[in-house]
Symmetry: C2
Subunit: 290 residues, 2 copies
């Protein structure tokens, strides 16, 4: 059995690492803020002081960190994984990150006989806790198959998407769909209120038909209750939208809908709403600051 | 039993009228082009030569015509329903039409003791055929209850939305949601193709999660197969968007997402794509004309 390491014990990473520890009984962990590792160390995970120490001990290493700049550091920094891992190590980045960066990491790692998968997830903290994440994987297909048991202990809808970067690209596709669903839902709710409709009744009419969506089901009721707690942070969504725009620009593709949604969320960020959930987009329409 | 009349035997109206004929055995019909009534006359429906003749014979009259300008003619024209019906007639307009016009018709009819419901539907021709339409109803609640057996023979998700115009407003809410879902889905597919993803696989990863929607389920596969046959015509969707924009402007509400989608569909109309299905929005991104 290959030894498994895990880097990044945030709101997503911690429950994921817990599932791996339960399944494999042995797990090496590192995270920037050691305090975040306390719970899992208490359950028996083995703490590593540095990425280098973890790299030395492990043959498969999973990362899920905050921003794609963190991914860059963790993988390509001087003491980053690509520079410190042994040949034949398998690295799996589950952060939502840049497709181009994923390709770059894959290629640089390959020159050292290190194999990398990009495997971002959707399903949020609840999905991480319940091990029901969707996992979209890019990289070499044989490496994917070798890692499938790991993925199966973390998620339900696991799909191999193709060569390196394809996992990240698929996550971008996911976020672009959500951007549109979000603006449609929010503008519809704004209209419904202005028209003095009973908004819950209106939702009852439309939710099961051609307007139906996960967002309408899950976020519209939150908006009606003025509940802006993050299921997914605005600041993270904006990060993802920027990554998608960057990739789209690389191939000279105009996505005016995505650009519009980005500009509205950018206004929200400027007004200090980055830590609210994405459903707080309605504030752009209803708050007087805008 | 009150005698029922039906005006408008198009792709939606004909199957709806058929259901009523089956349930009530007696049905009076009128439509602008008599040929369209042949099938239902053969089944036993009674043809009326004019709206006036139908109005004279019927106590409940259902209309589902093309545009809101047709609604205006049929209801408020010199020989229109409001001017020719007997007092205590109930009129039900199931066309997707202007909320303001619905309110105007309701008020003018009321002065003649004629009662009007606005009851637009969603679910398309399939919903009309299978009697599974969503029906959103505005007008007096006691009149709604009196007409409920009629609605129940036409649809499944029947919701009383409030005073006159509320049915139409709810349909606008439905269309605004769809506008957003449509642009999100289409831009995501454009991105996926540019990124050289296997688009079907990408859909497999994202359709069951937070990006999931009726549109993604039903229209994304059509787009992948370049099937632009109308489930719902672009020209009708543009009509609906204009109605929603008009109402939004009345209350000085800006809906930039809706405006953007409108401008893209307007380009498609100008290029002669009005008779394609709404999923042909992708042509804006992929055809060289744009």
């Amino acid at each position: 059995m290959k030894k498994i390491g895990f880097i990044g014990l945030g709101v997503m990473g911690e429950p994921m690492a817990m599932h791996l520890l339960e399944k494999y009984h042995e797990l090496y962990v590192y995270t920037r803020t050691k305090k975040k590792a306390d719970a899992i160390i208490n359950k028996g995970a083995i703490w590593c002081e540095t990425i280098g120490e973890l790299a030395e001990k492990c043959e498969i290493i999973i990362t899920i960190v905050g921003m794609h700049t963190d991914v860059q550091d963790v993988y390509l920094g001087k003491s980053g994984l690509v520079n410190v891992c042994n040949p034949h190590t398998i690295l799996i980045d589950m952060t939502t990150s840049s497709p181009s960066l994923a390709q770059e990491i894959y290629e640089k790692a390959l020159t050292k006989e290190i194999f990398v998968l990009d495997a971002p997830v959707s399903g949020g903290d609840i999905g991480a806790q319940k091990a029901t994440l969707s996992i979209m994987v890019g990289g070499d297909e044989n490496i994917y198959h070798e890692c499938l048991p790991i993925f199966e202990s973390l998620g339900k809808n696991i799909v191999y998407q193709g060569k390196a970067g394809s996992g990240q690209h698929t996550k971008m596709v996911n976020q672009i769909v959500i951007a549109g669903n979000m603006i449609g839902m929010v503008e519809a709710l704004v209209y419904a209120k202005q028209a003095n409709l009973d908004v819950n009744r209106a939702l009852k009419s439309i939710s099961s038909g051609a307007a139906g969506s996960w967002q309408l089901q899950n976020n519209a009721p939150k908006i009606i209750n003025k509940d802006y707690e993050p299921g997914f942070f605005i600041k993270h969504f904006v990060k993802d939208i920027h990554l998608a725009q960057e990739e789209a620009r690389n191939v000279a593709t105009d996505l005016p809908g995505l650009d519009l949604v980005e500009s509205l969320y950018a206004s929200l960020m400027e007004n200090g709403y980055g830590n609210l959930g994405t459903q707080a987009l309605i504030k752009y329409y209803e708050d007087e600051e805008f």
